[in-house]
């Protein structure tokens, strides 16, 4: 999920930071246990937030213990015990890694992409077996996104909404959560998906122009002021919608961390991204 859904650590209590870290390590260990060692390299920080929310909403317990791992052989870190939510997050990481590597081969012909896919193949097949519907939906959405992004004149709304649909499906396929919470979670994730897509588009504008890659905010090889202004409005709207959906979730243990992300970290990041974009592209 591109590394945006992470808390502003300076505003977290030490206990909350440890919980975040334990969730991240928990997902990593779950991947190792259920999908093999290689997909661990694809794990991003965002997945810790999803894991914490899913455990909270499913009413599962937060049990952690110190465990060693390849990067922490001596100073072992607290890690949540593998449970349904962590297994699911591990599967989502593996499925997304597989599709990301496919994209990299299709778009940029990076040689390491098919090699990477071969290394995670076994883990991918296990994740696909446990989540057949999700795997198909992710593939369909990413295939559609690939086709949409061939049209450089397409309105930025459409690929952004597909990115939202991707996270919607991930939330919808989560297990052991009641329907009302799942609806609110899915709507929140959908709006965060739209936000993340546009944030990424704004941050990557310069490099995409240089490489000639698709960017929904670029028109005829130059940043479009009109599209950028509209995209900034849409980002604010999507984030406000995500907050409204978040308000309807009944979180307890993960509430301080998720509050930090939704109410502080993301709005701050948005302000920084918008200011930087206005500065670089001289937009008023």
């Amino acid at each position: 999920m591109f590394g945006y859904l992470i808390p502003y650590k300076n505003e977290l209590k030490v206990r909350e930071l440890n919980d975040w870290q334990a969730a991240y390590c928990g997902v990593c260990h779950a991947i190792a246990r259920n999908n093999g060692q290689m997909p661990r390299f694809a794990l991003q920080n965002d997945m810790a937030g999803l894991a914490l929310m899913l455990i909270d909403l499913s009413g599962d317990t937060f049990i952690s213990r110190k465990r060693a791992c390849p990067t922490h052989l001596i100073n072992r870190k607290q890690s949540l015990e593998t449970n349904t939510a962590l297994t699911y997050c591990g599967d989502v990481t593996t499925l997304l890694a597989h599709h990301k590597l496919n994209d990299m081969w299709q778009d940029e012909k990076k040689l390491y992409a098919p090699i990477g896919n071969l290394l995670i193949l076994r883990g991918y097949r296990k994740a696909k077996k446990r989540n057949p519907l999700l795997s198909k939906k992710l593939k369909d959405i990413l295939d559609e996104l690939y086709i949409i992004e061939q049209d450089k004149e397409v309105s930025f709304d459409i690929p952004a909404a597909l990115s939202g649909d991707l996270l919607w499906e991930i939330a919808q396929s989560s297990k052991d959560i009641n329907e009302k919470d799942k609806l609110a979670l899915s709507d929140m994730m959908k709006n965060l998906g739209i936000w993340i897509y546009l944030a990424d588009a704004m941050e990557d504008m310069e490099s995409d122009i240089k490489k000639g890659c698709f960017n929904p905010l670029v028109q005829n090889g130059t940043p479009s002021e009109k599209r950028i202004s509209q995209a900034q409005e849409v980002m604010t709207f999507a984030l406000s919608r995500a907050q409204l959906a978040y308000n309807l979730l009944k979180l307890e243990k993960s509430a301080p961390i998720m509050d930090n992300i939704i109410r502080y970290s993301l709005p701050s990041k948005q302000n920084l991204i918008h200011e930087k974009t206005r500065e670089i592209h001289k937009i008023t």
């Binding site: 309105s155 930025f156 709304d157 459409i158 952004a160 909404a161 939202g164 649909d165 009302k180 609806l183 609110a184 709507d187 959908k190 709006n191 739209i194 509209q230 995209a231 409005e233 849409v234 604010t236 709207f237 999507a238 984030l239 406000s240 919608r241 907050q243 409204l244 959906a245 308000n247 309807l248 109410r263 502080y264 709005p267 701050s268 302000n271």
Partner: protein, 200 residues
């Protein structure tokens, strides 16, 4: 239901604290915030729960306040609407956005309601910028329609409230900034003949 848990207050909260908590939650879950939102029913339920909790603790009969204010795509009283558009509204409420888009694209008659429903459909699909454009067109064609007016202002109002909230909490005024500001004000004042800070 534990009314204290619902209102997010301690068991020994005073009446004033209960009222303050109630007002804070009403602001958070107000139905106006959930217009054109697939979660409007959940927000309605939450609002009923809050009202019931407030009733239990104060006996002031808040039940019915702020709830059931109609946030789905029901036909407004001023809109006669054809049968087709009534059915389309029901389909939008049911989340059948792709089918609705196809039906609307095949209609040759395109009054203001057509643009409004197209906008509603795009809002449901997450095409927010395009939805806003269609809402604006519906409002331009029928400026006296309150439904279209609310829809065309929804993104602007939502963003304005969001930015106000971000600014209220996000000020980064350090002591250095305050002192610098005061010194500059004093210099400007003195250059105009006054003296903001006599000792400087």
């Amino acid at each position: 239901m534990n009314p204290y848990t619902v209102l997010e207050i301690d068991d020994n909260a005073t009446q004033e604290q209960i009222k303050q908590a109630y007002r804070k939650l009403v602001k958070k879950y107000h139905p106006d915030k959930y217009i054109d939102n697939p979660l409007s029913k959940l927000a309605d339920e939450k609002m009923r729960e809050i009202n019931a909790a407030y009733d239990m603790l104060t006996g002031e009969g808040a039940s019915g306040n702020y709830a059931n204010q109609g946030t789905s795509y029901r036909s407004s009283g001023s809109n006669t609407g054809s049968t087709d558009f009534q059915k389309i509204r029901q389909m939008i409420n049911a989340g059948q956005y792709d089918q609705v888009m196809t039906i609307l694209d095949n209609l040759s008659n395109r009054p203001a309601e057509w643009y409004y429903l197209k906008g509603a459909c795009m809002m449901g699909k997450g095409w927010y910028a395009q939805a806003q454009n269609f809402y604006n067109m519906a409002y331009q064609m029928e400026p006296n329609n309150p439904e279209y007016q609310k829809a065309s202002q929804s993104m602007y109002n939502s963003n304005r409230n969001f930015n106000n909230q971000a600014n209220v909490g996000g000020s980064d005024c350090s002591m250095c900034n305050i002192c610098s500001c005061m010194l500059c004000s004093d210099c400007c004042c003195e250059s105009l003949g006054g003296d903001c800070i006599p000792c400087c």
